[in-house]
């Protein structure tokens, strides 16, 4: 049996990759994908703990996260499309119009 710590290290690695991606990349779609990566890293932690403790609530939580992630993907991609139609770019550095 693979120890719990392996799962946690893997998910922490995924999460860190996601954070670095969000912070460093400028392409909105890549940022978006990195967010998804972070969500799935968390999902992995949930599932690992659920199996480790023999408690199914963690698995149920994963379904919620996936549902929310799906909704978020729909909204987020819509925003990105709207953004591209208006500014002809999805580079986040060029859409800092809230800055005074």
């Amino acid at each position: 049996m693979i120890p719990l710590s392996y799962y946690l290290i893997l998910s922490a690695a995924f999460f860190s990759i996601g954070i670095i991606g969000v912070l460093t990349r400028r392409n909105a779609i890549i940022i978006f994908m990195c967010i998804e990566l972070m969500l799935n890293a968390v999902n992995l932690t949930f599932v690992a703990f659920a199996s480790f403790f023999g408690d199914s609530s963690g698995q149920i939580f994963v379904f919620f996260v996936m549902a929310v992630a799906a909704a978020e993907a729909a909204v987020g991609l819509a925003i990105i499309i709207a953004l591209f139609r208006n500014k002809l770019t999805i580079n986040v550095d060029e859409v800092n119009i809230l800055k005074w």
Binding site: V22, L23, T24, I31, V92, N96, I97, L98, K99, W100
Partner: protein, 644 residues
């Protein structure tokens, strides 16, 4: 009891003010505005008259009715109700104010005809009557103060009524401001007096204060301070030395205003207040002496300035100051009845003189210089006759009203042992007769000196009828107060009527009958002789032989210039008080204190916030990822802290 409805006499002028003030510009019709304005005052007069008749039917001890209206100020330790005091004194005042006021309102319909501010004029006049009635009927110092300030406001509004006109070297607005500011100085004294009364007696209600003042012993110093402060208020409102300077300038207002406010009613408020508080004043010998001396000095001082003025209204203004001086002289020697008696007769003949002057000014197309008049008696027969009656009355020719009241003042002054003040009063009487007949002769007698293109015409009926009524009052008004020496104590109706009001004060006054009836009659003849001499001198100099006057002017050029320039009092005040104040205000209070310190502090605060914001603003990069980075650092920090 109709007396319980006395508040209607106050409410009606207020209604008139509201109608004319709010709707006047819409009504436009002068007749409607004028008759609403006059009518409400007429109603107030009727109510006062009915109350008077009712009160006079009551036994003497019950002639003191308090009409409570509502609670005004009720806080811990201070309970002031809004209620009116109806007693013989306030009734006399109410009758004079509403009666003379009513006549002047009617006169104004004619005088103000065609003025673009016609409705505004009547609104102000109604507001004035409302405030004056509050002052008179007040049963506490606070309500009196309300009226006191209110009439000051109306005086200001009406002096500056023709705010776009020039007046002497400045504008009417400046004259109005002067009146208001000088009055404020007096009002400050009144206010201090009120505070001291509250501190001493714990109440501001007339009944409480006066009854306590007779019962509990109060330190001489305290009562002197209280009365002196109140008297400062009176010098402001009633134009006495040293605060008289505003009244001559107040002539910038329309003539009916001068008649109503600056001759007959408002300026007598100080005399009324001293009379009302007589029981306080008599307890301080110092204050009484101060009042008598200031009164006598003002009387002779103002009369001397009146001798040389050439503006018809200015002469009357100085005359008013002088006559008010008489009233204070009477109050100061304890003859409060005589003061109020003179107040009433003065209201009649001085209002008449002013309205007559207004009629002359009207006829001469706004000409006010008597040097450019003369021979008007053929053109203005009614004005001429009524003016003559008023002039004789103010000069003190029996049996016109002025004789009785002025003589009573002089006699009381003499009888109480103030011989020097009596002499001043007598000389003033001579001057009074002289200046008023100088004015009269230069205006109505002799040959015309005005340009031939002016055709003087008699005023319309709406103006002459009030003149005639006032002339009748000036002629017979004195008979209510025939001296006791002729008709016995019970024959002097006026003194008997006011007696209950002054009873508490009388106990403090020592009445030693130093002199016999014979002396009184001799003095009476003396004052008549003085008046006749004054009239004859004026007649001789200004109609037959002007040479002695010219010789006098050339011989005593300096003295004449001094008189003509009103002793330079305005200039002295300007130099000593006004200019330093303006300088300090401009150079320090404005340029340094206001601009640099206060504005600097406010602007500095704003700038500091602005600068800080400019620094902190840099954190807001607008890059979402930067914010996310900060968040992650933050969260990491929190997690570390929690783990530790």
């Amino acid at each position: 009891m109709i007396t319980n409805y006395i508040y209607l006499a106050v409410v009606f002028p207020l209604i008139g003010f509201l109608i004319n003030g709010l709707l006047g510009s819409k009504i436009k019709n002068e007749k409607i505005i004028g008759w609403i304005g006059s009518g409400v005052v007429g109603i107030a007069f009727l109510i006062s008259l009915l109350s008077f008749l009712e009160i006079s039917g009551l036994p003497e001890s019950e002639r003191n009715v308090i009409v409570p209206l509502f609670k005004w100020i009720a806080v811990e330790g201070l309970d002031i109700s809004f209620s009116y005091l109806v007693d013989p004194l306030s009734l006399v005042m109410a009758l004079v104010v509403t009666g003379v006021g009513f006549l002047i309102h009617i006169y104004s319909i004619g005088y103000m005809h065609g003025d673009k501010g016609f409705w505004r004029f009547f609104a102000y006049l109604n507001l004035f009557i409302f405030m004056m009635m509050n002052l008179i009927l007040a049963d506490s110092f606070v309500l009196m103060f309300l009226g006191w300030e209110g009439v000051g406001l109306c005086s200001y509004l009406l002096i500056g009524f023709w705010y776009d006109r020039k007046f002497e070297n400045s504008t009417t607005a400046d004259a109005a401001k002067k009146a208001f500011i000088v009055n404020r100085i007096g009002d400050f004294g009144f206010l201090l007096g009120m505070f001291l009364i509250y501190k001493t007696f714990g109440s501001l209600n007339f009944d409480d204060v006066f009854s306590m003042a007779t019962k509990i012993p109060v330190a001489e110093v305290t009562i002197t301070m209280i009365t002196l402060f109140l008297f400062i208020g009176a010098t402001g409102k009633s134009a006495q030395i040293p605060l008289y300077v505003w009244l001559p300038d107040a002539m910038a207002g329309p003539t009916p205003v001068s008649a109503l406010i600056h001759a007959a009613t408002m300026v007598t408020a100080g005399v009324y207040m001293v009379s009302r508080c007589s029981v306080l004043f008599v307890q301080s010998e110092i204050t009484m002496t101060v009042i008598a001396v200031i009164g006598a000095l003002t009387a002779i001082f103002a009369a001397s300035m009146g001798l040389v003025q050439n503006d018809i209204k200015k002469v009357l203004a100085y005359s008013t100051i002088s006559q008010l001086g008489y009233m204070f002289l009477a109050s100061g020697v304890g003859a409060f009845t005589a003061a109020i008696f003179h107040l009433m007769t003065h209201a009649f003949f001085k209002a008449l003189l002013f309205l007559g002057a207004g009629s002359v000014i009207h006829a001469m197309h706004e000409e006010q210089n008597i040097k450019n008049m003369g021979g008007l008696k053929n053109h203005l027969p009614i004005t001429y006759k009524t003016f003559l009656i008023a002039s004789l009355a103010i000069a003190g020719i029996p049996p016109l009203s002025g004789f009785f009241s002025k003589d009573e003042i002089l006699w009381e002054t003499f009888a109480t042992g103030h011989t020097l003040l009596y002499l001043i009063g007598l000389i003033t009487a001579l001057m009074t007769a002289f200046y008023v007949f100088r004015l009269f002769n230069l205006t109505f007698e002799g040959n015309p000196r005005y340009p031939s293109h002016i055709h003087p015409h008699e005023s319309p009926k709406v103006m002459t009828i009030p003149l005639i009524i006032l002339a009748v009052l000036s002629a017979i008004g004195g008979f209510v107060g025939i001296p006791a020496v002729f008709v016995g104590e019970s024959g002097n109706l006026f003194a008997n009527w006011l007696k209950p009001v002054y009873e508490p004060a009388e106990t403090y006054l020592l009445h030693v009958n130093l002199y016999s009836h014979f002396t009184e009659i001799i003095l009476m003849l003396l004052s008549v002789a003085v008046a006749v001499i004054g009239i004859l001198l004026a007649r001789h100099f200004y109609l037959q032989n002007i040479k002695p006057i010219e010789w006098f002017i050339n011989r005593f050029k300096k003295f004449y210039t001094l008189l003509f320039n009103k002793y330079y009092v305005d200039e002295i005040y300007d130099f000593l008080i006004v200019t330093p104040l303006v300088k300090v205000s401009e150079k320090f209070l404005w340029k340094i204190n206001d601009t640099m310190i206060i504005d600097g502090f406010i602007n500095g605060t704003a700038e500091m916030i602005d600068e800080t914001a400019k620094l902190i603003r840099k954190i807001q990069t607008g890059i979402a990822q930067f914010y996310a980075l900060i968040m992650i650092f933050g969260i990491t920090l929190i997690i570390f802290l929690l783990l530790l």
